[in-house]
Symmetry: C3
Subunit: 295 residues, 3 copies
Amino acid sequence: MDYTTIRYDVEEDGLLLLTLNRPDKLNAFTVEMCGELIDAYNRASMDDAVRVIVVTGEGRAFCAGMDLSVGGNVFGLDEAMAPTMDDLRTAPDDPAVLKGVRDTGGRVTLAMYNCRKPIVGAVNGVAVGIGSTMLLPMDFRFASEKARFGFVFGRLGITMEACSSFFLPRIVGVEQALEWAYKADIFDAIEAQEKGLVRAVLPADALLDEAKAFARSLVKDRSPVSIALIRQMINRNGAQATPWEAHLTESLAVFYTSMADGREGVRAFNEKRPAQFTGKASQMPPFFPWYDEHQ
Amino acid sequence: MDYTTIRYDVEEDGLLLLTLNRPDKLNAFTVEMCGELIDAYNRASMDDAVRVIVVTGEGRAFCAGMDLSVGGNVFGLDEAMAPTMDDLRTAPDDPAVLKGVRDTGGRVTLAMYNCRKPIVGAVNGVAVGIGSTMLLPMDFRFASEKARFGFVFGRLGITMEACSSFFLPRIVGVEQALEWAYKADIFDAIEAQEKGLVRAVLPADALLDEAKAFARSLVKDRSPVSIALIRQMINRNGAQATPWEAHLTESLAVFYTSMADGREGVRAFNEKRPAQFTGKASQMPPFFPWYDEHQ
Amino acid sequence: MDYTTIRYDVEEDGLLLLTLNRPDKLNAFTVEMCGELIDAYNRASMDDAVRVIVVTGEGRAFCAGMDLSVGGNVFGLDEAMAPTMDDLRTAPDDPAVLKGVRDTGGRVTLAMYNCRKPIVGAVNGVAVGIGSTMLLPMDFRFASEKARFGFVFGRLGITMEACSSFFLPRIVGVEQALEWAYKADIFDAIEAQEKGLVRAVLPADALLDEAKAFARSLVKDRSPVSIALIRQMINRNGAQATPWEAHLTESLAVFYTSMADGREGVRAFNEKRPAQFTGKASQMPPFFPWYDEHQ
């Protein structure tokens, strides 16, 4: 797939730099960008040359939100339909439902949630609407001091999207999520850091280098299989109602990794040398994925 | 319904001031107050003249807890019964179960949880037992410097109620919830703020005005349909095991609002003017509620 | 059961001091220690002489992790098997699954999760791998200034265990859990406190006394039945998708305790005297446990 709204650049040490690339439109989100981002995250998941992903925006914005200047239903929805919850549950991939009903932002964030590689955000400027909500399934978020955020849906008479009603309260708590969503204001990087939305606010010219260095530090000398399992286990098991699902998946994960990269890891530990892992995220243990990848 | 234990006053800008009104009893909670609060929250949910709710107490207390001076089972329970989990699951609205077994505090907080309007607490004084636990399903909590709190059930040999075993760990974390519940001590507004139970501690004479101004700021120039959806989506989807439920409900919510208040919202945005929303919380999109309102 | 890897000492006021006791091996975890810890937590649960548990390590370490110096599969797993999620779900207690597949750390932390008594950690030194993850289901964690922590599985090419993929993100958030798990570094007690893993960092010679005093303060003059119910309700209901399960369990818990220790509690409150509770955690109300104790 050739991309026209994003760039996909694999750099040294397995770092994929994913760049939103419509700078003349402040990288505003479109249905086309939705498709390209889903493709890129799925491709990175299976590409063993990619170990970790950094996401940023070209030019002065990160992403100014959905492009509201397009004609027809600006969200790309098919207004002739009358969908129900039952329609979505039973046939989420029916083409009419997939293209005419399902939230484009959510389709992107579900692909990010399912990704086998850690995702680090480098928010270089304005990140509003889907620009803010596509940050939430990332593992880590860094902001430039020029970054601006806003969950502005309430101001437009619409609602949360991109699975942000799941992700946002889990990151900043129910109360802060409600406040940002009700008020629908734009806020700066300092507030984002104070409330836990981003981990650090950096000078604009240091942002990308620091985000990249951090990203590389996560995966250097680590097993890609172990990293992929840890990402899915923490994201998924931490939201379960009891520890039982964690116990089942951890049992199988330790079982299968202990006979693969774990064997080398223990040997290297006992021999006091760095481990040489050979596992690949494209070839996961037989119980993976243990979940419905829709979900 | 005429209220004898509370007051229901709709003020300008759609602000409902709900006042616990047994000042000579420090607004202690009774079975009668339970019924009146449920009625008031359900009524406010469907009353389009109400946009946001502020809750406070008359006199020097917010609510001193269950009135333990009444005769018989002080919690209003029917001691002749021998209920099981199965009884509650299969027939929660059987009159004998509803009146003789189900926790009165929980019936109130479930009505608050299901409410279509944001709820802001103005805790003017002592808030102990159900006085503390009825604060938890509120969206936002302000406290006077005279406020006192206490999850004192353990001291009485009973347990958490009013769904506080769900709400409290979600607000302050499992560890703090366990500490307050085990110790069962009274604590002051500063501790409540430091631990995240209240968002601000205010001078007693500024409390109500500040809580009201904050409440009005949440809903001014906003779509009541959008606000109601955001409230239910953040509260409910943030507690799901995966983002999938969020994706389904968000897809339908954006779909239907984009053809109603969202159309005006986008048009107003493009025309750089304030939006004039006409949606009503009493008339929600066809997929609403997507959940069992018991739950 | 006689213990060879731990000590089980019941002290005054119902305090059980549980000590990891392989000081010459830095209390490294073995399959034998797994069995003894499960036995000890289950025994403490049913032993009415035990009101609260403090856990510490003998000598200079708390627990240096799984003992990686043993022969064969160092995790004690049966490499001849090829287990699936279905195997674990349908027959978790099949001896071959229980001994050859299921994570030993998780079997311990599930016993801790199900325990009827509060658990307080006194982390006296190095706590790495299972040494860190066995802290997570504790109610409260104190650390000596000499304590060190590390979720080091990634470094070994394996994954989270001991249900830490459930517990850790619930305690410190998804982002911090991912960071510690990906990086797999050792960190000190100050970082553990700043990130919310431990509640206090104490001088080494004050640690155990302070942890014991805190533990005793939780249960003094409290009903053991009420304490056991509060522990299970906050841990379990706080992770449910809605408040409904909390309402059901709280209704039954208040119902049955109000006719037992709650009656004495209310009477003592009205008579302004300390309550004399007679309930026992070994004899819980009829609806207990309302959950599958596997989970």
